[in-house]
Amino acid sequence: MTLKIPRFLTKKSVLVIILFAIAVTILYIMQSATLNVSSLIMISLPYIVSLGLVAIGEVVNERAGTTNIGLEGMMLLSSFAAVLGAEKAGNWAVGILVGIVASALIGLIHGLISIYAKGDQIISGMGINLFAAGFVAYGIWTIWSPGSHLISPDLGIPRISTPWGGLSWFVPLTIVLALVIHFIFYKTRWGVWIRAAGESPGAVDASGINVFRLRLLACIFGATLAGLAGAFMSLDWNRMTTNTLSAGLGFIALACVVFSGLRPLSALGAAIIFGFFGGLSKWMMGIPQVAAAIPPGIDNFVKMIPYIVTLVAVAVVVSRRRFPKSVGRPYRREEI
């Protein structure tokens, strides 16, 4: 008699359970060691929000058939533009808007290159990353002073006060967004069109819907969310702008997208897992006992944690993922 493995025990669910168990164990040990667990969660949340927003946007974009590896650059550009907008207007709301518009504009350019001009999406995305890193450094250099720029406290986005410290409005916003996109994806006509555009653009085109425009809108939407994440990073989370602010988060978000199998709620789940390890690494360094216990230099290995976890997690899960057939391929009409 062969042992029947229950269906839910796929490689991914096992990995998720293991990671979850590790997280719970760590939390439990900390609790019993009277370490401040709530502060770990509060430190992880900004990572989760940034990763979650970017990953959800990219899920929509990739479902519609375009890839965008320029997310890191878009976040960075938006984080800079948001600070600039907020300082010029003296208002954080304007800052968020300026950040989003800047990122969406780059998304429009990326969309035009990838969808209408049928250029190489990966090269275009990487070009955006390089451009953003240079442009933000140049902007900060010429407007303020070389390096980084702190914003004044009154320009920071206000937070919800909780017993554990200030909670960002972006936390509920991210969860609501994931739910809304999930609803749109699986319960509305728009969702069907978007999912079909990545799977079989010819069929969508034949049914009278403009595939090009649909894909362009999805691309701009993805860029908008990356812009929102960027504005969050500079105006809410770090309250500063510098050209290394995104620190690879745009690429970890891409790993979340791969991990999620292009499902919006799973993307949020992946962001929670990866974000937790980002927070863990930062949190550990913030505890005086830990910082005192580890020899100087070893802290660099703690800082590696989020990147190592991402690499390992993607290695374990990715081969099981099935992606839409036409992702990354520009759609060409057969006539003409």
Partner: protein, 352 residues
């Protein structure tokens, strides 16, 4: 046999495309300068005259060329094998650290240099290996794995430079390469490492265009499925593409540390080994992913980098503008048919 004219027109098309991307990059870069009130004409004049028309500038240009050519090969060879290998940054850092490590032994003159070169190349290849294995065995896209490894390399090097490879001397850098293990200087701060880089490019050209192995790699890059039907193993070709790329990037790191005065060491904040890897993308794309084309484009980008100094002094323009220009050039390179599209638009307007 194709006639000379045919061969020329074959070459002319990609060259005009590359030139076009460069021109757009410079024009938009100029606009970005003008927005902040700098004079782009004076800025670019300072940049190019400083990079090519002074002896010190030219030496520094060719010194940058050495580095950029090698990291360009990493990316360009990957593209030829159908890979988007953006791991040169991390492999470069590991190569630089390996050279410092080799320099920490007291080896006899000559041998020290050789060991340094070998160590740095192996370190680069070692850092490319996980990417290759993950790609071939697990199907992990190299964009994610290379970026993660770049960050891991960054923190590992920070640890090494402040820890085991820290120099307790007055200067806060890593251990310095002993003077007997350095590349001999030619003129200015140009070291003889440039010959190694050009030799590497020629060897890669020979492998890629004059051996069976190269033919297989290019076939995989051109169309993986067809290559598989022809009996070529795409996994093996991709592995080799990553490994040679890693050797090149590692060598670039080693050549910088062992060849470029005055440091001959890694700064404790890694500031002198950061940012080279990504510049290789632009070098490869403008050189059309061809090792010999890349020699030309590496000289151009080398000039762009070395000219920032005189541009900063002469026109007070921040050096970061060069990264902006490089970014725009890469975005333009994503559009191989950009010229054709514009031509079509102009022709369409004329016919109306």
């Amino acid at each position: 046999m194709s006639s000379l004219g045919e061969r020329f027109s074959e070459l002319a098309k990609p060259m005009t495309r590359s030139l076009f991307a460069i021109v757009i990059g410079l024009v938009i870069g100029g606009l970005v300068l003008a927005i902040r009130g700098y004079d782009p004409v004076i800025g670019f004049y300072q940049l190019f005259s400083g990079a090519f028309f002074t002896e010190i500038g030219l030496a520094s240009t060719l010194s940058y060329t050495t580095t950029l050519l090698l990291v360009g090969i990493t990316f360009g060879l990957g593209m030829r094998a159908g890979l988007f290998n953006i791991g040169a940054e991390g492999q470069f850092m590991m190569g630089a650290m390996a050279a410092v490590f080799a320099g920490s032994f007291s080896l006899p003159p000559g041998l020290g240099l050789l060991v340094g070169i070998i160590f740095s190349m192996l370190a680069g290849a070692l850092w490319a290996l996980p990417v290759a294995i993950l790609k071939v065995k697990k199907g992990v896209h190299e964009v994610v794995s290379t970026i993660m490894l770049n960050w891991i390399a960054f923190y590992l090097c920070l640890y090494l430079v402040l820890g085991p490879l820290f120099s307790s001397g007055i200067s806060s850098t890593s251990i310095q390469i002993p003077s007997s293990s350095r590349f001999p200087l030619l003129f200015g701060n140009l070291s003889s490492a440039i010959f190694i880089a050009i030799l590497f490019a020629i060897i890669v050209y020979f492998i890629m265009w004059h051996t069976k192995l190269g033919c297989k790699i290019r076939a995989v890059g051109f169309d993986q499925e067809s290559a598989r039907y022809m009996g070529i193993k795409p996994g093996r070709a991709m592995m080799i593409g990553f490994i040679i790329g890693g050797l090149a990037a590692g060598l670039a790191g080693g050549a910088l540390i062992m060849g470029v005065p005055p440091n001959y060491a890694v700064d404790t904040d890694l500031s002198n080994i950061i940012g080279y890897g990504f510049a290789g993308i632009a070098v490869a794309l403008i050189g059309r992913n061809h090792p010999l084309g890349m020699i030309g484009s590496a000289i151009f980008f080398g000039g762009l980098w070395s000219g920032t100094r005189s541009m900063q002094i002469g026109a007070h323009v921040p050096a970061e503008i060069v990264s902006v220009i490089i970014g725009i050039i890469v975005i333009c390179a994503a559009l191989p048919e950009l010229l054709d599209i514009i031509k079509k638009k102009i022709r369409g307007r004329e016919s109306k």
